[in-house]
Every structure is written in structure tokens, then in C-alpha cells.
Symmetry: C2
Subunit: 142 residues, 2 copies
DNA sequence: TATATTTTATTGCATGTACAAATAAATCGG
DNA sequence: CCGATTTATTTGTACATGCAATAAAATATA
């Protein structure tokens, strides 16, 4: 059923939820070959770009709660892709050599993902929608 | 951090995910007073409008997987808001009297929710965004 | 009619996410 | 310098969701 045929097609709850679920599925497919969920992959990419970033900053970047980020880091630590070091109350997250090796493949998955939805939706139209969504999201309370 | 400042502000994965999470939070607040999660509330509203609707159809309307709908129905059954009857392979979901009583309050929560985000985002702008999102969502594979 | 296929729904399992509470460290006010 | 507050992170718990497998009924096909 198309969302325009659903009885709640005018509701933001359904619109945002079903878009997010479909996009999540596309993303999962793209990163499956690396055995990573999209959120894990993006976290790792950020840590590769800025080694030592703190969980709280990662939470802001990823727009997830700090507790969720802790859980993501735990998973990546189990896979030996990142390590945490603590000094005082500050924690720093660093990529391991194994994590660093994944860098190029992560980037290529990200590119593949962007191209996948751009191909389906049109490059301009998806860029426009992303902008609109972000503008709206920024207005909503955190 | 605004999503426009995040390093993945141009990525559909982050855009759709963070919008959906924020909207979900708004919705949760609106339905909390009834002790229902938004998805449960919407399912119940549909069943009130069309008593006897089958889980599969509900899944299409809600744009959720059939298994998720089964779980939602189970929860609503525990709360004595709906009942299931089975004939053959077909299951029908009906509201209980207690479920029917909730009707008006459900509608008012839904109205409150729509007005909440409309007030923040602007009536026209949110309507436009919902339309854009739905158009895009319909293009994506199910 | 008997068997194969399709349809409908459910169940087992895994995962991602968040809230609230707990912990631990840093900072501030007196 | 000490107690109170704030900050950074983690933990316990709960929940929504989906996939893959299963079950059971209906339908098609030979």
C-alpha cells in the first residue's frame, strides 16, 4: 500500500516513521557485507576521521542518546574495531588497526548507499528533501 | 547540535532517522496520558473505525511488518482494549467496550499531536514536508 | 481427489534505541 | 579547603521493530 493510500497519510508520525524504516533497510543492505549495522559503521567512520572523540560528542554528531552511543561503542569494541581509554571522567574512543583497515570499505559503502537512494529518488530531489527534513528537525525540541 | 552542523547532514540515513526519533518523542508525550505508545494508539483507532480488520491489512495501513502488528495486538489484548477472533486462517480484530470508550480521547490526542508539530513547524510547511516525504517513501522498495 | 503452492498469522530470536538511575570526576561557592 | 552542584559516562531495564522459520488454512493444479 502506498503511503498516500493509508488513512494516516497526512500524519507526520507515519510519514517520518515509514521513511526512516525504508531508508534503514537500504542502509542495512549496503553495510551488510562488512558485518556492520549502519549506526556502527557511521560511528566508526567518525572515529576514523577524529580519533579520540568522546562518547558525548559522538552522540551529538550521530544525534543519538549517550546511552545508545555507549552501546554502539561496546559492540565495536567486541569486534576489536575501536578501543576506549579513560582519564578522569573523560573517555576517548580510538580506532584499532583493524578498524583503520576498514576505512576505505566503509567509505565505499557510504558512497554506494548515497548512490542507491539517489538513483531511486533522483539526485536533486533527494538532496532537496534532506535539506527540508533537516530544517524541520532543527526546529523540533531535542 | 543542529543537524546542519553534523558531518552527515547531507545523508538521508541521518536526516530520516533523526526526524523520526524526534517526532516519535513528541508523539509519545501526547499519548502518555492514555498509557499507550503511539503505534498502539493508531492501531486501536483504525480498529475502532473498521472493527474486524485483519492483522495483514493493519500492517499495510500502519506500514509495519505483520509480526510487529501481531505484537501490537497482543499488547492491546493484554490491556483489554481489543480482542481477536479466528476463523480458519483469518483473524479479525475487534475493539472491546473498554477500547470503544477510549475513542474520543484517542482522537483528541491525535489532534493535539498534529497541532503540536504544526505549531512548531508551521501548518503549511509541515503539510508540504509530509507530502514530499510520502512521495519519496512510495518510490522506495518495500 | 491428492498434492503442491500460496496466503495469513504467529513465534523465536536478535537488534537498536531511550529513559532513569547510578557512578565518578570536575567545578563552584562559601 | 570542603560540601554542593554540574558534567560525562555507564548500567539496568523496557520496548518497538524486523527477519526467518513455522504453522495452518485456502487455493490451484495435475
Amino acid at each position: 500500500m502506498k503511503t498516500s493510500e493509508s488513512r494516516y497519510h497526512k500524519c507526520m508520525y507515519f510519514a517520518s516513521g515509514s521513511l526512516a524504516r525504508k531508508i534503514e533497510k537500504l542502509a542495512i543492505d549496503c553495510w551488510k557485507k562488512l558485518g556492520l549495522a549502519p549506526s556502527h559503521a557511521y560511528l566508526l567512520m567518525i572515529v576514523l576521521e577524529e580519533p579520540g572523540m568522546q562518547p558525548g560528542v559522538l552522540a551529538e554528531e550521530l544525534q543519538l542518546s549517550p546511552s545508545t552511543v555507549t552501546r554502539l561503542i561496546e559492540k565495536l569494541e567486541e569486534k576489536k574495531l575501536v578501543v576506549r581509554t579513560s582519564e578522569g571522567k573523560i573517555t576517548n574512543v580510538y580506532p584499532t588497526p583493524k578498524g583503520k583497515e576498514l576505512g576505505p570499505q566503509l567509505k565505499s559503502c557510504a558512497t554506494e548507499f548515497n548512490e542507491t537512494y539517489s538513483a531511486i529518488l533522483g539526485k536533486e530531489e533527494s538532496a532537496r528533501l534532506i535539506q527540508s527534513i533537516n530544517r524541520i528537525t532543527d526546529k523540533l525540541p531535542s
